[in-house]
Amino acid sequence: MHELSLCQAIAESVARHAQGRPVARVAVRIGHLRQVVPDSLLFSWEVLTSGTDLAGTALDVEQVPVTIECNRCGATSVLDDPIMLCGSCRDSDVTVLTGEEMLVVSLSLAEV
């Protein structure tokens, strides 16, 4: 539901870094722990950029799975659901290693 706001923020970040140069693609990285629906993000991007300098710019969404490290046994697990339990010893004292990312990674400028 907040994908439109995120796209607004992405577009502002892109504008800051592109400094007027035409942009072909924007790469973003989104962790699975963020409630972002890629389809919705792509749709919002299309809506938000249409009629602007960024119209037609591709948005590449890289999704990052959730990995946690157990503070008790030290094991690293990849989670399929948001239950914060060590995959090895089932302890709940864990640290999230990846999955909370929400980044603009890079821009690719258009060939001029």
Binding site: M1, L6, A24, R25, S108
Partner: protein, 257 residues
């Protein structure tokens, strides 16, 4: 790391890692597989950014936080109808005369909630988020900033930010608060922590509200608490009823930090 993307014909897929990012075939499909130039990560025309998407919001949240030094600031979130405003009414009545309280009331439209909070001696600023695309589903740091400008901060001890009723979006936006609370109604069932983990992970306390209704519901508190522990082992839980006043003391003492 999956690289989800979509081709112009509407098909979409994940690339599992950098190694398989470019020279794959789409089996049985004779067509342009889309422009993969974005995956050629070495081109001279590529600008590395590595910037948090919400960096501007977070920057503004820090500005708010600085202005709010000395004022305990709590961001209260919930789904619509969980009882945030009713709980706040009782809270304001309870704290009236002891503390100088401000309320920043976020709503997509109308001043109904802000009006309900009037008359308890608190300073109230309403932020309607209904601009642009039919209303934002959350408060962000800029919206909160606009509300702060309408509050006499120098005269406040406690600021309660009542976020837009929504279990998804508000959790993503730091607005400059010290702590986050969630009001959860037992009528919402046991499963919501698993369905809205981002929100449940983001909060310091969960007020389990409407417990006066428990005799009439199939709600299983044990299952709910286990689900909550699964996504947020550290969250404090306060059983409450904004209607009967149960749990109000515990909530007020948490609120004061």
């Amino acid at each position: 790391m999956g690289r989800f993307h979509r081709h112009p014909d509407g098909t979409e897929h994940d690339h599992l890692d950098e190694a398989d990012a470019h020279d794959h075939d789409h089996e049985g499909v004779e067509r342009d597989v889309g422009d993969h130039s974005g995956y050629t990560a070495t081109g001279a025309n590529r600008i590395a950014v590595l910037e948090d998407i919400l960096s501007e919001n977070d920057r503004m949240a820090e500005v708010n936080r600085k202005d709010l030094i000395g004022i305990r600031t709590v961001n209260v979130m919930s789904s619509p109808g969980a009882g945030k405003t009713t709980l706040l009414r009782r809270t304001l009545a309870e704290l009236s005369g002891q503390l100088r309280v401000g309320v920043l009331e976020g709503d997509i439209a109308t001043s109904i909630d802000a009006d309900r909070l009037d008359g308890f001696g608190a300073e109230i600023a309403l932020v309607n988020t209904g601009n642009g695309f039919g209303g934002e589903c959350h408060l962000d740091a800029v919206m909160v900033r606009s509300g702060l400008a309408r509050l006499p901060l120098e005269r406040l001890d406690l600021l309660v930010i009542e976020n837009v009723g929504n279990l998804v979006c508000p959790a993503e936006f730091d607005v400059g608060e010290d702590a986050r609370a969630m009001v959860y109604a037992v009528t919402e069932g046991e499963d919501k922590p698993l369905k809205y983990p981002v929100m449940f992970r983001a909060v310091d306390v969960v007020v389990v509200n409407k417990v006066d209704l428990l005799p009439y519901l199939d709600f299983d508190m044990g299952i709910f608490l286990a689900n909550l522990r699964g996504v947020n082992p550290a969250a404090q839980v306060i059983r409450a009823s904004a209607r009967t006043g149960e749990g109000l003391d515990a909530w007020c003492s948490w609120l004061l930090g």
